[in-house]
Symmetry: C2
Protein backbone atom coordinates (compact mmCIF):
# COMPACT_ATOMS: atom_id res chain seq x y z
CA UNK A 1 0.00 0.00 0.00
CA UNK A 2 1.27 3.42 -0.99
CA UNK A 3 1.83 5.76 1.97
CA UNK A 4 1.57 9.46 1.24
CA UNK A 5 3.62 12.08 3.07
CA UNK A 6 0.55 14.31 3.56
CA UNK A 7 -3.06 13.53 4.39
CA UNK A 8 -4.32 16.48 2.35
CA UNK A 9 -2.33 15.16 -0.57
CA UNK A 10 -3.65 11.64 -0.03
CA UNK A 11 -7.25 12.84 0.16
CA UNK A 12 -6.90 14.83 -3.06
CA UNK A 13 -5.39 11.80 -4.83
CA UNK A 14 -8.24 9.60 -3.57
CA UNK A 15 -10.81 12.10 -4.78
CA UNK A 16 -9.28 12.28 -8.27
CA UNK A 17 -9.03 8.49 -8.41
CA UNK A 18 -12.83 8.30 -8.02
CA UNK A 19 -13.24 9.91 -11.45
CA UNK A 20 -14.00 7.47 -14.28
CA UNK A 21 -10.88 6.40 -16.17
CA UNK A 22 -8.53 7.94 -13.60
CA UNK A 23 -6.30 5.44 -11.77
CA UNK A 24 -4.26 6.19 -8.67
CA UNK A 25 -1.09 6.89 -10.71
CA UNK A 26 -2.87 9.42 -12.92
CA UNK A 27 -4.58 10.91 -9.87
CA UNK A 28 -1.19 11.47 -8.25
CA UNK A 29 0.17 13.06 -11.41
CA UNK A 30 -2.80 15.45 -11.52
CA UNK A 31 -2.44 16.37 -7.84
CA UNK A 32 1.29 17.00 -8.24
CA UNK A 33 0.45 19.21 -11.21
CA UNK A 34 -2.02 21.21 -9.12
CA UNK A 35 0.57 21.62 -6.35
CA UNK A 36 2.83 23.38 -8.85
CA UNK A 37 0.10 25.74 -10.03
CA UNK A 38 -0.74 29.20 -8.84
CA UNK A 39 -2.80 29.15 -5.63
CA UNK A 40 -5.51 31.36 -7.14
CA UNK A 41 -5.85 29.13 -10.21
CA UNK A 42 -6.28 26.00 -8.11
CA UNK A 43 -8.91 27.74 -5.99
CA UNK A 44 -10.79 28.72 -9.15
CA UNK A 45 -10.67 25.08 -10.28
CA UNK A 46 -12.02 23.81 -6.96
CA UNK A 47 -14.74 26.46 -6.84
CA UNK A 48 -15.83 25.71 -10.40
CA UNK A 49 -16.41 22.08 -9.39
CA UNK A 50 -18.39 23.00 -6.28
CA UNK A 51 -20.48 25.61 -8.12
CA UNK A 52 -21.07 23.22 -11.01
CA UNK A 53 -22.88 20.72 -8.83
CA UNK A 54 -24.58 23.31 -6.62
CA UNK A 55 -25.80 25.74 -9.24
CA UNK A 56 -26.25 23.96 -12.55
CA UNK A 57 -29.95 23.34 -13.04
CA UNK A 58 -31.93 21.05 -15.30
CA UNK A 59 -34.35 22.89 -17.59
CA UNK A 60 -37.93 22.49 -16.32
CA UNK A 61 -39.13 21.98 -19.91
CA UNK A 62 -36.56 19.94 -21.83
CA UNK A 63 -34.31 18.69 -18.94
CA UNK A 64 -31.15 19.94 -20.62
CA UNK A 65 -28.61 21.49 -18.24
CA UNK A 66 -28.98 25.21 -17.76
CA UNK A 67 -27.90 28.10 -15.54
CA UNK A 68 -31.55 29.19 -15.28
CA UNK A 69 -34.80 27.35 -14.48
CA UNK A 70 -35.67 27.28 -18.18
CA UNK A 71 -32.77 26.79 -20.59
CA UNK A 72 -31.61 29.20 -23.28
CA UNK A 73 -32.99 27.05 -26.09
CA UNK A 74 -36.47 26.76 -24.54
CA UNK A 75 -36.49 30.52 -23.86
CA UNK A 76 -35.31 31.47 -27.35
CA UNK A 77 -38.29 33.10 -29.12
CA UNK A 78 -36.62 32.70 -32.51
CA UNK A 79 -36.70 28.92 -32.30
CA UNK A 80 -39.58 26.74 -33.46
CA UNK A 81 -41.05 25.29 -30.27
CA UNK A 82 -43.70 23.31 -32.15
CA UNK A 83 -41.02 20.74 -32.93
CA UNK A 84 -39.40 18.57 -30.25
CA UNK A 85 -36.22 16.58 -30.88
CA UNK A 86 -35.99 13.69 -28.39
CA UNK A 87 -32.41 12.79 -27.44
CA UNK A 88 -30.73 10.53 -24.90
CA UNK A 89 -28.49 13.02 -23.17
CA UNK A 90 -26.99 16.48 -22.95
CA UNK A 91 -24.08 15.63 -25.23
CA UNK A 92 -26.54 14.76 -28.01
CA UNK A 93 -28.14 18.22 -27.70
CA UNK A 94 -24.70 19.77 -28.11
CA UNK A 95 -23.87 17.50 -31.05
CA UNK A 96 -27.09 18.42 -32.88
CA UNK A 97 -26.67 22.12 -32.05
CA UNK A 98 -23.19 21.98 -33.56
CA UNK A 99 -24.62 20.84 -36.89
CA UNK A 100 -26.57 24.15 -37.07
CA UNK A 101 -29.28 22.23 -38.97
CA UNK A 102 -32.00 22.30 -36.32
CA UNK A 103 -33.92 25.26 -34.94
CA UNK A 104 -36.58 23.54 -32.81
CA UNK A 105 -36.68 22.47 -29.18
CA UNK A 106 -35.33 19.38 -27.42
CA UNK A 107 -36.34 16.80 -24.86
CA UNK A 108 -33.56 15.06 -22.96
CA UNK A 109 -34.76 11.57 -21.98
CA UNK A 110 -31.80 10.82 -19.74
CA UNK A 111 -31.06 7.49 -21.41
CA UNK A 112 -32.82 4.73 -23.34
CA UNK A 113 -34.89 1.76 -22.22
CA UNK A 114 -32.45 -1.04 -21.42
CA UNK A 115 -33.81 -4.03 -19.48
CA UNK A 116 -30.26 -5.44 -19.30
CA UNK A 117 -29.14 -2.37 -17.33
CA UNK A 118 -32.39 -2.22 -15.37
CA UNK A 119 -33.48 1.01 -17.06
CA UNK A 120 -37.22 1.18 -17.68
CA UNK A 121 -39.48 3.96 -18.97
CA UNK A 122 -40.06 5.24 -15.43
CA UNK A 123 -36.33 6.02 -15.12
CA UNK A 124 -36.54 8.31 -18.14
CA UNK A 125 -38.25 11.65 -18.79
CA UNK A 126 -41.05 9.97 -20.75
CA UNK A 127 -44.07 11.29 -18.82
CA UNK A 128 -42.95 14.90 -19.16
CA UNK A 129 -42.58 14.38 -22.93
CA UNK A 130 -46.11 12.97 -23.19
CA UNK A 131 -47.38 15.94 -21.17
CA UNK A 132 -45.58 18.45 -23.41
CA UNK A 133 -47.17 16.85 -26.47
CA UNK A 134 -50.62 16.64 -24.81
CA UNK A 135 -50.40 20.30 -23.81
CA UNK A 136 -50.73 21.05 -27.53
CA UNK A 137 -48.88 23.42 -29.89
CA UNK A 138 -46.53 20.56 -30.81
CA UNK A 139 -46.70 19.50 -34.46
CA UNK A 140 -43.70 17.19 -34.74
CA UNK A 141 -41.63 14.94 -32.50
CA UNK A 142 -38.26 13.85 -33.97
CA UNK A 143 -36.86 10.72 -32.35
CA UNK A 144 -33.07 11.14 -32.38
CA UNK A 145 -31.98 8.20 -30.24
CA UNK A 146 -29.03 5.89 -30.81
CA UNK A 147 -29.41 3.48 -33.76
CA UNK A 148 -29.13 0.50 -31.40
CA UNK A 149 -31.55 -2.14 -30.16
CA UNK A 150 -32.16 -0.11 -27.00
CA UNK A 151 -32.70 3.03 -29.05
CA UNK A 152 -35.15 1.21 -31.34
CA UNK A 153 -37.01 -0.23 -28.34
CA UNK A 154 -37.31 3.25 -26.88
CA UNK A 155 -38.40 4.69 -30.23
CA UNK A 156 -41.15 2.08 -30.41
CA UNK A 157 -42.22 2.72 -26.81
CA UNK A 158 -42.42 6.48 -27.38
CA UNK A 159 -44.27 5.95 -30.66
CA UNK A 160 -46.93 3.91 -28.83
CA UNK A 161 -47.16 6.49 -26.06
CA UNK A 162 -47.64 9.36 -28.53
CA UNK A 163 -49.68 7.50 -31.16
CA UNK A 164 -53.07 8.74 -29.91
CA UNK A 165 -51.99 12.37 -30.12
CA UNK A 166 -52.09 13.96 -33.56
CA UNK A 167 -48.42 14.85 -33.57
CA UNK A 168 -46.24 13.83 -36.50
CA UNK A 169 -43.55 11.41 -35.34
CA UNK A 170 -40.30 11.05 -37.31
CA UNK A 171 -36.94 9.43 -36.74
CA UNK A 172 -33.57 10.71 -37.87
CA UNK A 173 -32.39 9.25 -41.19
CA UNK A 174 -30.24 6.13 -41.14
CA UNK A 175 -27.91 5.42 -43.99
CA UNK A 176 -24.28 5.53 -45.03
CA UNK A 177 -22.24 8.12 -43.17
CA UNK A 178 -20.21 10.84 -44.89
CA UNK A 179 -16.94 9.37 -46.25
CA UNK A 180 -17.97 5.78 -45.45
CA UNK A 181 -16.71 3.17 -47.93
CA UNK A 182 -19.71 1.22 -49.20
CA UNK A 183 -17.89 -2.12 -49.28
CA UNK A 184 -17.23 -1.89 -45.55
CA UNK A 185 -20.70 -0.63 -44.58
CA UNK A 186 -22.83 -3.19 -42.72
CA UNK A 187 -25.73 -4.83 -44.60
CA UNK A 188 -28.51 -3.34 -42.51
CA UNK A 189 -27.28 0.21 -42.99
CA UNK A 190 -26.54 -0.21 -46.70
CA UNK A 191 -29.88 -1.94 -47.32
CA UNK A 192 -31.74 0.79 -45.50
CA UNK A 193 -29.86 3.50 -47.40
CA UNK A 194 -31.18 2.02 -50.68
CA UNK A 195 -34.76 1.51 -49.46
CA UNK A 196 -34.88 5.04 -48.01
CA UNK A 197 -33.13 6.73 -50.95
CA UNK A 198 -33.89 10.42 -51.38
CA UNK A 199 -34.28 12.50 -54.56
CA UNK A 200 -30.91 13.74 -55.81
CA UNK A 201 -30.26 17.29 -54.70
CA UNK A 202 -27.40 19.33 -56.16
CA UNK A 203 -27.08 21.37 -52.97
CA UNK A 204 -26.21 18.48 -50.66
Amino acid sequence: MQRYPSQLFERAVEEFAKLPGVGSKTAMRLVLHLLRQDRKAVETFGQSIIRLRQEVKFCNICHNISDTDTCEICRNARRDHSCICVVENIQDVMAIENTQQYRGGYHVLGGVISPMDGIGPSDLQVESLVERVKAGDITEVILALSPTMEGDTTNFYLYRKLADSEVKISVIARGVAQNDELQYTDEVTLGRSIVNRTPFNVNI
Copy 2:
Protein backbone atom coordinates in the same frame (compact mmCIF):
# COMPACT_ATOMS: atom_id res chain seq x y z
CA MET B 1 -16.61 25.78 -31.69
CA GLN B 2 -18.57 23.79 -29.16
CA ARG B 3 -21.32 25.80 -27.44
CA TYR B 4 -22.30 24.63 -23.98
CA PRO B 5 -25.81 24.99 -22.60
CA SER B 6 -24.51 26.33 -19.29
CA GLN B 7 -21.69 28.72 -18.43
CA LEU B 8 -20.99 26.94 -15.14
CA PHE B 9 -20.71 23.71 -17.08
CA GLU B 10 -18.46 25.33 -19.67
CA ARG B 11 -16.21 26.80 -17.00
CA ALA B 12 -15.85 23.44 -15.25
CA VAL B 13 -15.00 21.74 -18.56
CA GLU B 14 -12.40 24.42 -19.32
CA GLU B 15 -10.84 23.98 -15.88
CA PHE B 16 -10.58 20.21 -16.25
CA ALA B 17 -9.15 20.60 -19.74
CA LYS B 18 -6.23 22.55 -18.25
CA LEU B 19 -5.03 19.39 -16.47
CA PRO B 20 -2.15 17.58 -18.19
CA GLY B 21 -3.35 14.77 -20.47
CA VAL B 22 -6.99 15.84 -20.24
CA GLY B 23 -8.54 16.97 -23.53
CA SER B 24 -11.86 18.76 -23.92
CA LYS B 25 -13.75 15.50 -24.61
CA THR B 26 -12.40 13.84 -21.47
CA ALA B 27 -13.02 17.04 -19.51
CA MET B 28 -16.68 16.98 -20.57
CA ARG B 29 -16.99 13.33 -19.62
CA LEU B 30 -15.59 14.07 -16.17
CA VAL B 31 -17.88 17.05 -15.66
CA LEU B 32 -20.94 15.04 -16.72
CA HIS B 33 -19.86 12.37 -14.26
CA LEU B 34 -19.65 14.93 -11.46
CA LEU B 35 -23.11 16.27 -12.35
CA ARG B 36 -24.51 12.80 -11.67
CA GLN B 37 -22.79 12.48 -8.30
CA ASP B 38 -24.11 13.33 -4.89
CA ARG B 39 -23.88 17.07 -4.14
CA LYS B 40 -21.98 16.48 -0.90
CA ALA B 41 -19.41 14.22 -2.62
CA VAL B 42 -18.71 16.81 -5.31
CA GLU B 43 -18.29 19.51 -2.68
CA THR B 44 -15.79 17.29 -0.83
CA PHE B 45 -13.88 16.86 -4.10
CA GLY B 46 -13.76 20.59 -4.77
CA GLN B 47 -12.75 21.39 -1.19
CA SER B 48 -10.00 18.77 -1.24
CA ILE B 49 -8.48 20.53 -4.26
CA ILE B 50 -8.66 23.97 -2.67
CA ARG B 51 -7.27 22.75 0.66
CA LEU B 52 -4.51 20.82 -1.10
CA ARG B 53 -3.02 23.94 -2.62
CA GLN B 54 -3.72 26.19 0.37
CA GLU B 55 -2.60 23.93 3.19
CA VAL B 56 -0.03 21.44 1.94
CA LYS B 57 3.39 22.61 3.08
CA PHE B 58 6.92 21.77 2.04
CA CYS B 59 9.07 20.42 4.86
CA ASN B 60 11.55 23.07 6.06
CA ILE B 61 14.28 20.43 6.31
CA CYS B 62 13.93 17.99 3.40
CA HIS B 63 11.41 19.88 1.15
CA ASN B 64 9.10 16.88 0.91
CA ILE B 65 5.39 17.72 1.04
CA SER B 66 3.90 17.69 4.50
CA ASP B 67 0.87 18.77 6.52
CA THR B 68 3.17 20.30 9.11
CA ASP B 69 6.18 22.64 8.91
CA THR B 70 8.54 19.70 9.41
CA CYS B 71 7.50 16.44 7.75
CA GLU B 72 6.75 13.15 9.49
CA ILE B 73 9.97 11.54 8.28
CA CYS B 74 12.17 14.39 9.53
CA ARG B 75 10.31 14.39 12.89
CA ASN B 76 10.50 10.62 13.32
CA ALA B 77 12.95 9.97 16.19
CA ARG B 78 13.29 6.31 15.23
CA ARG B 79 14.86 7.16 11.88
CA ASP B 80 18.56 7.65 11.28
CA HIS B 81 18.95 11.35 10.54
CA SER B 82 22.72 11.06 10.04
CA CYS B 83 22.01 9.70 6.56
CA ILE B 84 20.43 11.81 3.79
CA CYS B 85 19.04 10.28 0.62
CA VAL B 86 18.98 12.89 -2.15
CA VAL B 87 16.09 12.44 -4.63
CA GLU B 88 14.62 14.42 -7.50
CA ASN B 89 11.01 14.66 -6.37
CA ILE B 90 8.26 13.66 -3.95
CA GLN B 91 7.31 10.56 -5.94
CA ASP B 92 10.85 9.22 -5.49
CA VAL B 93 10.54 9.58 -1.71
CA MET B 94 7.32 7.54 -1.84
CA ALA B 95 8.91 4.95 -4.13
CA ILE B 96 11.88 4.46 -1.79
CA GLU B 97 9.63 4.42 1.29
CA ASN B 98 7.58 1.67 -0.35
CA THR B 99 10.65 -0.54 -0.60
CA GLN B 100 10.89 -0.46 3.23
CA GLN B 101 14.68 -0.75 2.81
CA TYR B 102 15.65 2.73 4.00
CA ARG B 103 15.32 4.26 7.45
CA GLY B 104 17.23 7.53 7.06
CA GLY B 105 16.18 11.01 5.99
CA TYR B 106 15.64 12.56 2.57
CA HIS B 107 16.42 15.69 0.64
CA VAL B 108 14.11 16.57 -2.26
CA LEU B 109 16.09 18.52 -4.87
CA GLY B 110 13.08 19.44 -6.97
CA GLY B 111 14.62 18.19 -10.21
CA VAL B 112 18.03 17.63 -11.78
CA ILE B 113 20.43 19.97 -13.55
CA SER B 114 19.34 20.16 -17.17
CA PRO B 115 20.81 22.96 -19.29
CA MET B 116 18.50 21.90 -22.16
CA ASP B 117 15.47 22.71 -20.01
CA GLY B 118 17.12 25.76 -18.49
CA ILE B 119 17.38 24.16 -15.05
CA GLY B 120 20.56 25.08 -13.20
CA PRO B 121 21.76 24.38 -9.64
CA SER B 122 20.11 27.59 -8.39
CA ASP B 123 16.69 26.23 -9.39
CA LEU B 124 17.21 23.22 -7.13
CA GLN B 125 17.46 22.77 -3.36
CA VAL B 126 21.24 22.44 -3.52
CA GLU B 127 22.23 25.18 -1.05
CA SER B 128 19.99 23.81 1.69
CA LEU B 129 21.55 20.37 1.21
CA VAL B 130 25.05 21.80 1.55
CA GLU B 131 23.94 23.65 4.69
CA ARG B 132 22.43 20.48 6.19
CA VAL B 133 25.71 18.65 5.62
CA LYS B 134 27.80 21.57 6.91
CA ALA B 135 25.66 21.77 10.04
CA GLY B 136 27.24 18.43 11.00
CA ASP B 137 25.80 15.17 12.37
CA ILE B 138 25.54 13.87 8.81
CA THR B 139 27.71 10.83 8.08
CA GLU B 140 26.41 9.73 4.67
CA VAL B 141 24.73 11.28 1.65
CA ILE B 142 23.15 8.79 -0.77
CA LEU B 143 22.66 10.18 -4.27
CA ALA B 144 19.46 8.55 -5.61
CA LEU B 145 18.91 10.52 -8.82
CA SER B 146 17.78 9.19 -12.18
CA PRO B 147 20.39 7.10 -14.04
CA THR B 148 20.40 9.59 -16.92
CA MET B 149 22.88 12.14 -18.23
CA GLU B 150 21.13 14.89 -16.26
CA GLY B 151 21.14 12.73 -13.14
CA ASP B 152 24.85 11.97 -13.56
CA THR B 153 25.63 15.66 -14.13
CA THR B 154 23.76 16.52 -10.93
CA ASN B 155 25.50 13.72 -9.03
CA PHE B 156 28.86 15.11 -10.11
CA TYR B 157 27.87 18.68 -9.20
CA LEU B 158 26.68 17.60 -5.74
CA TYR B 159 29.82 15.52 -5.25
CA ARG B 160 31.98 18.57 -5.95
CA LYS B 161 29.88 20.72 -3.65
CA LEU B 162 30.14 18.22 -0.78
CA ALA B 163 33.70 17.01 -1.41
CA ASP B 164 35.33 19.28 1.19
CA SER B 165 33.04 18.05 3.95
CA GLU B 166 33.92 14.74 5.55
CA VAL B 167 30.64 13.11 4.68
CA LYS B 168 30.60 9.74 2.90
CA ILE B 169 28.97 10.10 -0.53
CA SER B 170 27.41 7.06 -2.21
CA VAL B 171 25.18 6.48 -5.22
CA ILE B 172 22.44 3.88 -5.54
CA ALA B 173 23.57 0.67 -7.26
CA ARG B 174 23.16 0.36 -11.01
CA GLY B 175 22.84 -3.02 -12.60
CA VAL B 176 20.35 -5.44 -14.10
CA ALA B 177 16.82 -5.02 -12.78
CA GLN B 178 14.83 -7.85 -11.19
CA ASN B 179 13.42 -10.15 -13.93
CA ASP B 180 15.40 -8.42 -16.69
CA GLU B 181 16.58 -10.71 -19.49
CA LEU B 182 20.32 -10.32 -19.83
CA GLN B 183 20.31 -10.57 -23.65
CA TYR B 184 18.05 -7.51 -23.85
CA THR B 185 19.87 -5.45 -21.22
CA ASP B 186 21.82 -2.49 -22.60
CA GLU B 187 25.63 -2.73 -22.72
CA VAL B 188 26.32 0.03 -20.22
CA THR B 189 24.07 -1.51 -17.57
CA LEU B 190 25.28 -5.06 -18.14
CA GLY B 191 28.93 -3.96 -18.19
CA ARG B 192 28.48 -2.03 -14.98
CA SER B 193 26.70 -4.96 -13.32
CA ILE B 194 29.79 -7.09 -13.94
CA VAL B 195 32.31 -4.47 -12.85
CA ASN B 196 30.32 -3.70 -9.69
CA ARG B 197 29.50 -7.34 -8.86
CA THR B 198 28.74 -8.01 -5.22
CA PRO B 199 29.59 -11.06 -3.04
CA PHE B 200 26.95 -13.75 -3.43
CA ASN B 201 24.43 -13.61 -0.59
CA VAL B 202 21.96 -16.42 0.02
CA ASN B 203 19.45 -14.03 1.59
CA ILE B 204 18.93 -11.83 -1.48
